[in-house]
């Protein structure tokens, strides 16, 4: 799990490593675990898992359900809400996202990059919006989403190179992706069509911090064929610029 999330397992502080192994045992598919599952998924002996889980409950990082199962605690979320790249950014972005949402009543997404993936920081969706896979707090691929392409186009060369080799096996494929990224930088926006099975198109633009560095990406996702995505470009770029001017970004 740790490698999938792009963080090296550190050496020499076993208690902390175990605590995070326990916390990382929870996933969107399995947000509620009993002690046996916790032990298995974190690769910890049952007695260690029990003791660590009890400590984490005392610290508010875990909570127990009425049935005695474990879930991630709202007090951990309270601390995590102070991450500038999650809720701080989101607070700056939300009024602009609301405006975009009212134009389409589909999806409006906000994402930041973490290593070779993007994390979805916010998503506003209507009742009747087309179904998409991505949830807030979840990871999205850099080369298969509009927000991802924007973040990748402005990433360090080594991140781009790794993404290019993973996403496109052939030299021709890599060259095509390189041209796409150059286009995203030149135009200040990305248009990405998902193809099957979702058949959605996203229009994405970069959000910059005070130094002009790309800190996040904003997008509208609509059903493909419903509206001309080019007509949404100005609205998305204007909203992304509006967010960039807010002092809380970066």
């Amino acid at each position: 799990v740790t490698t999938a999330r792009g963080h090296r397992p550190p050496q020499g502080e076993p208690v902390l490593d175990r605590a995070f192994a326990l916390l990382r045992a929870f996933t969107a598919e399995r947000p509620e675990l009993n002690l046996t599952e916790l032990g298995r998924r974190s690769s910890l002996p049952l007695s260690t898992a029990r003791r660590m889980a009890a400590r984490l409950v005392e610290l508010g990082a875990l909570e127990r359900t009425p049935k005695g199962r474990y879930v991630v605690g709202v007090a951990l979320w309270e601390i995590a809400s102070l991450a500038p790249r999650s809720l701080g950014l989101r607070a700056a972005a939300l009024p602009f996202m609301e405006d975009l949402y009212e134009v389409t009543h589909q999806h409006v997404l906000l994402a930041v990059r973490d290593g070779g993936e993007a994390i979805l920081v916010e998503r506003i969706s209507g009742h009747g919006a087309v179904e998409i896979l991505y949830r807030v707090g979840g990871r999205v691929p850099l080369t298969k989403t509009g927000v991802g392409l924007v973040l990748l186009a402005h990433a360090e060369p080594d991140v781009q190179q790794r993404a290019l080799s993973e996403a496109a096996g052939t030299a021709a494929g890599q060259a095509a992706l390189r041209r796409t990224l150059a286009g995203v930088r030149r135009d200040g926006m990305a248009i990405f069509r998902s193809g099957d099975p979702w058949q959605v198109v996203s229009v994405a633009a970069p959000v910059r911090d005070a130094d002009g560095t790309v800190a996040a990406a904003l997008s509208i996702v609509i059903p493909d064929g419903q509206a001309n995505p080019r007509h949404l470009v100005t609205a998305v770029r204007a909203a992304a610029r509006g967010i960039s001017r807010r002092p809380t970004v970066g």
Copy 2:
């Protein structure tokens, strides 16, 4: 800080205690700290703070800014987003909150109780909304907000008794608050006027889990005197019931 957040400092796992002391050093007012500040605010020796902070950076729980200061990491937020009482609840609530937002373009709040306080899980606010203090991830008092009164009215007797003695010194004050809470339970909603300096009024209703237990509270907050809050009661109660029917709640 730990006592203010309602969690006892646990005994016997000093590394974990120190790690959480470090994480709790960050606040909404000070989301970015240098090493000296980290040490002072977590009451740890500088060398310990440096070593722990480095580990937490490796684990993704902290990040370093280009200037070398520390912030809470988006990877911690990624784990915390799995807390059922934060983003799980929020995912169920958001479409209904959007609908309420479009009625007023003011504030729509969603909160859960943690000990003797409430934590704001979600807030939707327009550009032109009246200014209110509360931020997502922050704490709000049980006796001085609409969502807080709803949560308090359905809390265990000992939580109610503690809140009553803290909020209302005199026996007459306590009796008045008791009557208010009984009214909230009877009517299935709370109307709360903030008075100075905000002059807002909130209309709140309970969100229940599958067992009928009150899991959260939903509210609309509008400027006092702008609209009759009674006219919003049906909309808020209907939205709260809609959220309660979603399988992800509780």
